[in-house]
């Protein structure tokens, strides 16, 4: 039996995998992109906030197909409800706004539609795309290629590839196949729950609520979700509380300084997930394999945002491999290290710095001091002059 052969096989079609596939297929490489889901993005494990800059920088066309609401800035709250507003409609009124000729700062997207849109872009660039296809394992072949085992609907299929890309998200198994150290500490994974609700007003701002009382180890959020809906959620670090995220969210809805604002809310959807407030993986490559996106823990350790870094990681991986595959060199781990070097230079070093900042905050033993520091850090993080504005 002959196995289908590709230059690259990509496991996982989230923002990271689909972007990698778009670049590689666009450069003429035989690319197979697989995802185990039947509908990408579902069940939703994300709030969907992404900057306009992130989309533009990574070549994702801005489209009403996936946008739920435009965003113009931030409101950062401390535990008592005092807020710093960073509203670009006021800071730069000539540039930002909903009027014709002005632009938004970012968007809240529907991940179901967004991920499908990104898959379409990859497919139109020439990638083969298989849904309902789960990656099961990989092994190295003597000829310098690898064999990837997949299950597509009921059928087990083996395909050959020069490079396998693990873009399979935070639950990544691909890294574990290669024996990479992917383990994340319980003190650095926020347990998150969010509701999409009706009857809660928002005003084009991403609202972030800090304070140990509301979200120990993490923060709470209120995001506009389009059609008059809002998203209310929070993430907690399990070692800092003996209650679960559900209990904290319930308390935030009923007892916080927003309780009047939330009093009439109706829950329309329930979602959750784990958000790593952690450092990137130290090793994101192995023989014939690289990891990208959440799988490599390309997540902003202060905000937990990972869409931008997944898109950017996909571009970096796609560009690196486009050059590498042309060189004809063996995809050994020594040779693929160049991918991680390129990533560190572009993004990773900044993320390490953010990680150290975040670690310093949560090392503070005094609760009030820690709360104050988190509030300040969040406020300055989103400030127009922030050095991290672009990640």
């Amino acid at each position: 039996m002959t196995f289908p052969e590709y230059d690259v096989v990509i496991i996982g079609s989230g923002p990271a995998g689909a972007t990698t596939a778009r670049i590689l297929a666009g450069n003429g490489f035989q690319t197979l992109l697989v995802d185990k889901r039947q509908e990408l993005g579902a069940p939703i494990q994300c709030s969907g906030a992404v900057s306009r800059h992130a989309l533009e920088e990574t070549g994702v066309p801005i489209s009403t197909e996936y946008i739920q609401e435009a965003i113009y800035g931030f409101g950062i709250y401390n535990q008592e409800g005092r807020a710093n507003f960073i509203d670009y409609r006021k800071l730069k009124p000539d540039e930002y706004g909903s009027e014709a000729g002005k632009k938004p700062l970012g968007f809240v997207v529907d991940r179901r539609r967004f991920d499908r849109f990104l898959l379409t872009q990859a497919e139109r660039a020439g990638a083969e795309t298989w849904l309902k296809t789960e990656g099961l394992g990989y092994s190295l072949l003597p000829n310098g290629k690898c064999e990837v085992r997949l299950r597509r609907f009921n059928e087990e299929i083996k395909v050959k590839a020069r490079v396998l890309i693990g873009a399979d998200g935070l639950q990544s198994q691909v890294g574990r196949w290669a024996g990479l150290r992917t383990h994340i500490k319980i003190t650095e994974l926020a347990s998150c729950l969010q509701f999409v609700v009706d009857r809660v007003e928002t005003d084009g701002l991403l609202e972030i609520i800090t304070g140990h009382d509301w979200a120990p180890g993490g923060y709470a959020w209120v995001f506009p979700k389009g059609h008059g809906y809002a998203e209310i959620g929070l993430g907690v670090i399990p070692t800092l509380t003996d209650k679960n995220a559900q209990w904290h969210l319930d308390r935030f809805l009923k007892d916080s300084f927003f309780k009047d604002r939330f009093s009439d809310s109706r829950i329309l959807e329930i979602q959750g997930g784990g958000v790593p407030l952690a450092s990137p993986l130290r090793t994101q490559y192995a023989d014939n394999l690289i990891l990208v996106g959440d799988a490599a823990r390309h997540v902003n350790p202060i905000t937990g945002g990972g869409i931008h870094t997944a898109l950017s990681g996909g571009i970096i991986a796609g560009k690196f491999l486009s050059q590498f595959l042309l060189s004809g060199e063996e995809p050994s781990k020594e040779n693929l290290k160049g991918y991680q070097d390129a990533w560190l230079e572009k993004l990773g070093n900044k993320m390490w710095k953010l990680y150290e900042e975040k670690t310093a905050i949560f090392k503070l033993n005094d609760k009030a001091e820690r709360d104050q520091k988190l509030f300040e850090t969040m406020s300055s993080y989103f400030h127009p002059e922030s050095e991290y504005k672009k990640i």
Binding site: L170, S191, N244, G272, P276
Partner: protein, 73 residues
């Protein structure tokens, strides 16, 4: 940690929101996953660190100890 008694996890499927946090925190090798993308429920876990129970946002993972560890596969 390996001196702990192996456990078999149970998941309250009605409460589970399919968020994947339990799989993300799990220190097991590749493949310790159920058909519903949670940690495995069909074989014992010999690490028994219980981190999955701690991370679950809706606390719907429970366990029973498996005393004849090797007997059950």
């Amino acid at each position: 940690m390996s001196s702990k008694t192996p456990v078999l996890f149970q998941i309250g499927w009605n409460a589970c929101i399919n968020c994947g946090a339990c799989v993300a925190i799990c220190p097991q090798e590749a493949g310790f996953i159920s058909d519903f993308d949670t940690i495995a429920v069909d074989r014992p876990c010999d690490i028994a660190c219980m981190l999955c129970e701690d991370i679950c946002p809706v606390t719907t993972i429970t366990h029973t100890e498996v005393h004849s560890a090797k007997a059950k596969k």
